[in-house]
Amino acid sequence: MKPWRPEGTVYGTLLNFRSEWDLWSPRMTQDPHKAPPKAPVLYVKSANTFCPAGQDLLLQDGVHEVDIGVTLGLVIGTQAQVVGAVLLNDWSVPHTSYYRPPVKFRCRDGFLGLPAQVTPGRVADWSALQIEVHRNGEPVQRVDLRELMRDMPTLLADVGEFMTLQAGDVLMVGTDCLADGSRPRARAGDRVEISAPGFASVCTTVGDVA
């Protein structure tokens, strides 16, 4: 069986975990942001980022280190409803400013680690999901979906207010940070594994251009 790839557009959600929101909160009213975000802050992972199960992430074009962005992607069916979900590794070039769109940080080739298959189900099935991240066999992060700012039904409703998700689209619910606001990182030679009960893991070996 061919490993899974998204059939539609993949959207990501920024600042949707309580710990990162709280760390940002004192700065949200300062320049250049001036106010906390009201609507969901989204971004697109373009098709060139899709890295199917079994493929390595190749660091290139001057990138030597990446943030690991563990998340759950909700897979959309024909009536804009959720029909399943996937673990994803939403890699990004570390960036500290959330002011301008993150195309060059998030849309690089291979920057979305995919699992082999989708887990069918409804969002209620995953409201308390815990996702584990291991780097070279060592645990580096545990993400708990009970910590979402907008829970999944709320996120879907608030996104649906301005755009209709299409069959095959994927909505990622957000990535959490560590206690200091950073994300676990990976470099060439690392092997990163994302796993959760009931889901196909996302295992990626990071390489670079010799």
């Binding site: 790839r5 998204p6 059939e7 539609g8 557009t9 993949v10 959207y11 920024l14 600042l15 250049p32 942001h33 001036k34 106010a35 975000p37 009201k38 609507a39 969901p40 802050v41 989204l42 971004y43 697109v44 373009s46 098709a47 060139n48 980022t49 899709f50 074009d61 959330y98 002011y99 301008r100 769109p101 993150p102 195309v103 060059k104 849309c107 690089r108 080739d109 301005f162 755009m163 209709t164 998700l165 299409q166 689209d169």
Partner: protein, 254 residues
């Protein structure tokens, strides 16, 4: 050649422009000519096997950057859109009832023709299939300073009309000297030239392909010049680029 993608007689067809009509080029009606007003115009883009990458530029004309009180960017200000925001020529775009400032943006849209990675400016034109016109509407009421311009402003259902034609690159000898114009209910409100882009088309292809693969059918919307005004339900907005086409759109209350 000018290519269109249309719905007519219960099916979707590819067509080309011939003597002010549409000549169907494939399917059971191949060879038949139909009038422009007989058809539903779809975005003039062939289907692609995976999600189409739609890149859009902000502040890519010196005058528009000034109008919005920003200094010209040192590198392209790019954001991404989902393909689902695209609609065709002569379509209806929804304007929410509670907003005060929704504006059009007339933009030259570049359609990629060949897989492009680490392309140099000097070779960039070899990777272009053709050009079309996009109207990249924005609703400024929803602008927030987080990944700005945020998707609630720029990725709304019905808010990216595109078309009517995909014009072959070979028929556009210099895309950097084209007049752009927008009219609202027949009155010209925006006029400019692609000559005033801050990052021209070859520079954009070099920039994006320096870190990402562009695939055939991917789009780059290259930004808009000075002259944006609020538009209202019932307004007919025509965004036009010399030699590429005139894209008509009508706003409806949502």
């Amino acid at each position: 050649m000018k290519h269109a993608r249309i719905a007519w007689s219960g099916a979707i067809h590819d067509a080309i422009e011939v003597e002010g009509q549409l000549l169907l080029t494939q399917g059971p009606h191949a060879g038949r000519r139909v009038d422009f007003d007989e058809v539903v115009w779809l975005p003039p883009l062939a289907p692609v096997p995976q999600a189409r990458t739609v890149i859009a530029l902000g502040l890519n004309y010196a005058d528009h950057a000034r109008e919005l009180a920003f200094k010209a960017p040192e590198e392209p200000l790019a954001f991404m859109k989902g393909e689902a925001s695209l609609i065709g020529h002569n379509a209806l775009t929804k304007r929410p009832a509670d907003v005060t400032y929704m504006h059009y943006e007339c933009e030259l849209a570049v359609v990629i023709g060949r897989t492009a990675r680490r392309v140099k400016k000097a070779d960039a034109y070899d990777f272009i299939a053709g050009y079309t016109v996009a109207n990249d509407y924005a609703i400024r009421d929803y602008l927030e300073n987080w990944y700005r311009p945020n998707l609630r402003v720029k990725n709304r259902d019905t808010c990216t009309p595109i078309g009517p034609w995909l014009v072959d690159a070979a028929d556009v000898p210099n895309p950097m000297v084209l007049k752009l114009q927008t009219s609202v209910n027949g009155k010209v409100t925006q006029s400019g030239s692609t000559a005033d882009m801050i990052f021209d088309v070859p520079s954009l292809i070099e920039y994006f392909s320096s870190f990402m693969t562009l695939n055939p059918g991917d789009l780059i919307l290259t930004g808009t010049p000075d002259g944006i005004v609020n538009v209202n339900p019932g307004d007919a907005i025509v965004t036009e680029i010399e030699g590429i086409g005139a894209l008509v759109n009508t706003l409806v209350a949502a």
